[in-house]
């Protein structure tokens, strides 16, 4: 039986995660090709597409990075395939170069780009607002606020993209990706075969002579898409009153709930923009003309607000427009925040907000797991280099190494930056720099950093934290993995061979749980100059458990002879260990049997699991 997300079951209602709804929408459009790079909050889209792929009618790949994902997607849509490409918001930075050009060439087969934004930085380094990218590139934007809309807008975005030959952006926020709600399914068509490639260099090769008319054509397409926005069912006017609200994305949900609970629904007129770019100007003008005051409710940047101010000014409208002077530009909104703003503008008293204020508690920051091999790598590096070296970090679980006691992250820019930024820090500081990079990130964008470091003779010690998977985002495959949930990886790339191929002559490989060998390797590499590398290779224990269904046969325990120095606790910060009165202790259920602690203290011993 087909998986329910693939089944042709119109009218069926299921509770779906926003990201699952996006997959269903793509299937209902007749998806032919999907390319993705995982990243929270987008990751369940590729994970679901991958899991379904053996029985699905689309072609799917985890690309090595977002730029490559969008380039593969671009080639596919140029060859006539209905194509979905997904990434988190900062991934669009990586993919920005092909994105700009794809808006010029157009996308004959249809292309929807999912940009999963993260207001509030739940799992990201910034809260950039990618609606700017859509304006920079010239892309129409759909912004769902419910699971049903996530499904419907993905389907319609793909179909409209094909109709207009213009790439669409589906711009979500974390709340939308990770909400669950009921979704009514539509029919599933036979996706058939892609239309095929139609040679036309004047449209598809952006040399300057061709680019100029492409730009004109892009602006014409945007005007045609503006008409689509004017007539879109995702743009709605509800209610009546002299106060108007324009809202987009998840803010539409906050506004609806705020009006319902304040009882002010009959005094406020609301324009909800689900199809928010190009701005449906006629619709907005009509709306602006019908109210005396306008509040724009949008998280992050004042983008609609500024568009509407321009529209009002151009048309000489005398309407007061409020937005970021009433609601914040940082972080997420809440229903209460929106309700308070509406109350203020309607002259009603806002409800008294009197949230409970409990006393401070011990914090619960995330930590490297028990049995995480990164702990072994960091412990050895600290032992050899201490505070003398600079630790250039990268993006993955291993960023958590920044916390004490390991303190193995001094700076971080973006995916793949550890090696290149590490080289820069070394040449400017004259200090030894260790560049920590995970295996997945190495393939994402570490390779170019290696080539640059070798070519420019940087002095950097690369430490590839090779845990054989993409651990942080949920064990997605990358080119170096041995195995995935669907079986063996028969086109595996070798990290050591790639380092040597790029000109790194001094490469060592260790198991970071073998402290003696890891420390010896660091000591040796410390005496060298130039680009040299240590591959610290040991699978993520969660991955081993999930894919290989294996756990280590042994666990650690603290012998009676423990003298209560607690060096083990103080230097390893392993979540399986705790202080039990005057002794250290190991929780055998949490212990992953890595045996790192045995190498720190002689009073810690191994025993058979379960004994």
């Amino acid at each position: 039986m087909a998986h329910s997300l693939l089944a042709d079951a119109p009218g069926h209602i299921d509770l779906l995660l926003g990201n699952e709804a996006i997959v269903r929408g793509a299937v209902e459009a007749g998806l032919q090709v999907a390319t993705c790079y995982p990243g929270t909050p987008s990751s369940e889209v590729p994970d679901t597409l991958f899991r379904l792929s053996p029985e699905a009618r689309y072609s799917f790949e985890y690309s090595v990075n977002e730029k490559v994902a969008l380039e593969v997607a671009g080639g596919a849509t140029l060859a006539g395939a209905l194509t979905l490409c997904t990434m988190k918001h900062v991934g669009v930075n990586v993919a920005a170069d092909p994105l700009m050009t794809l808006c010029y060439t157009g996308t004959p087969g249809g292309l929807l780009l999912l940009s999963a934004d993260d207001p509030g930085c739940h799992s990201s380094q910034n809260e950039q607002d990618n609606r700017y990218y859509a304006r920079l590139a010239g892309m129409p934007v759909l912004e769902p606020s419910t699971a049903q809309e996530a499904k419907d807008m993905t389907r319609d975005g793909l179909l409209l993209s094909k109709k207009h030959g213009a790439p669409f952006m589906l711009r979500t926020t974390t709340r939308v990706n990770h909400l669950r709600g009921p979704v009514e399914f539509g029919p599933v068509p036979d996706p058939g075969k892609p239309d095929g490639f139609q040679r036309n260099p004047s449209k598809f090769v952006p040399i300057p002579a061709f680019s100029r008319p492409m730009h004109v054509a892009l602006l014409e397409r945007l005007e045609a898409l503006r008409q689509e926005a004017e007539n879109s069912p995702y743009n709605t006017v509800t209610g009546s009153g002299s106060l108007g609200i324009v809202c987009s994305s998840i803010s539409r949900a906050y506004v609806a709930d705020a009006l319902a609970q304040s009882g002010l629904a009959d005094r406020v007129k609301v324009l909800g923009l689900g199809f928010s770019h190009p701005l449906p100007e006629t619709m907005c003008l009509d709306f602006l003309s019908s109210v005396s005051r306008l509040l724009v409710v949008e998280e992050l940047e004042p983008i609609l607000e500024n568009d509407l101010r321009v529209l009002a000014q151009k048309n000489g409208l005398d309407v007061e427009i409020l937005g970021k002077d009433v609601l914040p530009r940082c972080n997420e909104f809440t229903v209460s925040m929106v309700e308070d703003a509406i109350c203020r503008l309607t002259g009603e008293a806002a409800p008294v907000r009197d949230a409970c204020q409990p006393a401070a508690l011990p914090m619960r920051p995330p930590n490297l797991c028990a049995g995480c091999p990164h702990r072994g790598s960091y412990f050895a590096a600290r032992k050899v280099f201490g505070d003398d070296a600079i630790y250039s970090s990268d993006i993955g679980c291993y960023t958590l190494g920044l916390l004490p006691p390991l303190k193995a992250a001094d700076f971080l820019l973006c995916m793949g930056s550890s090696i290149s930024a590490g080289g820069g820090a070394a040449l400017a500081s004259g200090k030894t720099v260790l560049a920590f990079i995970g295996d997945s990130t190495y393939f994402h964008s570490g390779l170019t950093g290696v080539a640059n470091a070798v070519f420019n003779k940087h002095d950097v010690l690369i430490v590839v934290l090779d845990n054989r998977t993409t651990a942080m985002t949920g064990h997605q495959p990358h080119p170096g993995v041995d195995k995935t949930i669907l079986g063996d990886n028969d086109s595996r790339l070798d990290i050591e061979a790639s380092l040597r191929g790029l000109g790194v002559t001094e490469v060592r490989e260790v198991n970071p749980f073998n402290q003696k060998k890891t420390i010896a390797a660091f000591e040796e590499l410390k005496t060298m100059k130039g680009v040299r590398a240590l591959i610290a290779k040991e699978p993520c224990p969660l991955f081993t458990r999930r894919i290989y269904k294996k756990v280590a046969p042994q666990v650690a325990y603290v012998a009676e002879s423990c003298t209560g120095r607690f060096e083990c606790l103080d230097t390893l910060a392993c979540p399986a260990m705790y202080r039990d009165g005057d002794h250290a202790a190991v929780n055998p259920i949490l212990c992953n049997g890595c045996m790192l602690c045995l190498q720190v203290c002689g009073h810690i011993k191994a025993k058979k699991r379960g004994s």
Partner: protein
Amino acid sequence: MNDIKPIRIFMTGVGGQGTLTATTMLARTVLAAGLPVTSGEIHGMAQRGGVVESTVLIGCKSPKIGHGEADILLGFEPMETVRALPYLKRGGLVLSSTEFMPPLSVAMGKQACPSLDEIKTQVAACTDKAHYMNSQTIGIEAGAVQSGNIALLGALCATGALPFGPEALAATIKANLPAKLQAVNLKALELGVAALDA
């Protein structure tokens, strides 16, 4: 949708406790009862032993609960119950586990957990409607520690605060969990309901 009185349920626990499974079970139960439901979860770094927060909202469009908005707070760990108190409406309903999962700083002996009495005092400062149970122990008794969440959910259904009772949650468990997990979770549900009355 306007004629349904909104109910906002905030759930909090520690990564690996099964908070998200419990959230989905409750959301599916609301859907099966024919009520408008939206649910939310924040994860990511949370898998690495951090805090996992989730929501189930009946009769609302938004999946998010802001400070002072939750009608019900379900804490799968007592310190997390207290940490999430700002989300609770004053006088709202609290159901909490009494069994601590010490964070690293406590395990290392650098900080101490508050006592259970201190936890209850903090909760009492916000509401007089609170129920406590040793849900992890109940989970172990039922057959799996993670099923302790279902015990707490079952107790919530039995308080009468939701528009359905524990039997509706039982039906969701039977319809959605694999056969081998059903018995454990149904047992946990039964024990949770009994613990509320105790």
